[in-house]
Symmetry: C2
Subunit: 183 residues, 2 copies
DNA sequence: CCTGGGTGAGACATTGCTGTCTCATTCGGG
DNA sequence: CCCGAATGAGACAGCAATGTCTCACCCAGG
């Protein structure tokens, strides 16, 4: 027995990614447990979302770590980062939109740290001359979130191949749609 | 009296953009009318969302028209389009996330036409050699939606200046974060 | 001055989800 | 084998939002 809390969280993330308004009952069924048991592990929907938020933050920080965002050319760091964060993109998309509902509420301190890490990466790229300076690091960070969410949904609906996810996001973010002049 | 239906729709759009889970009562108050009157004009929340969807579609088509998406260099057309669509970005963001909930449901035919128009624009840019061919037109369309939503939220939360909206989105989408080689 | 359409305020039942509780069952360890 | 912890199933009340209805009001046009 002893329900695997982490596995419950992951199936909840997968379900809520597809349907953000899923019921506690649906979440429980998706995890293969009863609503009562789900309630024993997460006091309520709110607690569940908080736990998912913590999971998302942990995965983002792990990705930031694994991608060694502060090493080497910033562009390569961005590519590594997108690759590392891909498995979490669905969860991120859910949390990203969910956060739009918290209105004034102060955001979790974890997000602030991740935002800072990303912003720093883009700032570093600007200082090294790799990135253009007319797009602010804050905007590039927001754009990355938006592209991750778009990408996750596009993949979920079959409009983009899963294998292309990393390439599509990283290359659009870095190079844009315009064709580069031949080097 | 005769409540101005269009004005109600616009205030609803503005409110739901900020808080997607707003109550019918909140929507009514935001429009300065009573819930009863709101109900007389829109049979229910569902009907309201449908009407907002129709409004969003109409504004998108108008923007697509006004931007003359099929004329001149594709890159310039994209810039005109982003500029023309900016006032609707908040509504678009709301509808974009709302649509994630409709799961299987067949999407409105209007969106299909707009998607087709955008995809065609990007395809045209590829054929003319302006746009790179490793990013599919479908993905560029999705990315545009995602960036519009990100941009709208970032502006709403004060992370990006409203005046920069068009530039940030269009230039990131077209040119990406990397600095161009000096021409 | 009337009259009627449009409105606001509020009551009401309904619905769907939530949170809590109970009870029977099951499974694993001692 | 036996016991206890964890679970599943279901009942139950509470709650928030919805949709419907009534009634009084106001104001513009006849």
């Amino acid at each position: 027995m002893a329900v695997d809390r982490d596995q419950v969280l992951r199936s909840a993330a997968a379900l809520l990614t597809r349907k953000a308004t899923s019921t506690m009952d649906e979440v429980a069924r998706a995890a293969g447990i009863s609503r009562a048991t789900l309630h024993r592990h997460f006091a309520g929907r709110d607690a569940l979302v908080r736990a998912l938020e913590a999971l998302g933050i942990a995965e983002c920080e792990a990705a930031l770590e694994a991608a060694r965002a502060d090493e080497g050319p910033a562009a390569d760091a961005v590519r590594r980062l997108v690759r590392a964060i891909e498995p979490s993109a669905g969860l991120l998309a859910f949390l990203y939109t969910e956060n739009q509902l918290f209105e004034g509420e102060e955001q979790n301190r974890g997000w602030a740290r991740i935002d800072a890490g990303l912003t720093e990466l883009f700032r570093r790229g600007q200082e090294s001359g790799e990135f253009r300076i007319d797009l602010t690091p804050v905007w590039l960070t927001e754009a990355l979130y938006g592209l991750l969410a778009s990408g996750a949904w596009a993949v979920a609906e079959g409009r983009v191949a899963r294998n292309d996810f990393t390439h599509m996001i990283a290359e659009l973010l870095l190079g844009g749609a315009l064709r580069r002049e031949e080097p």
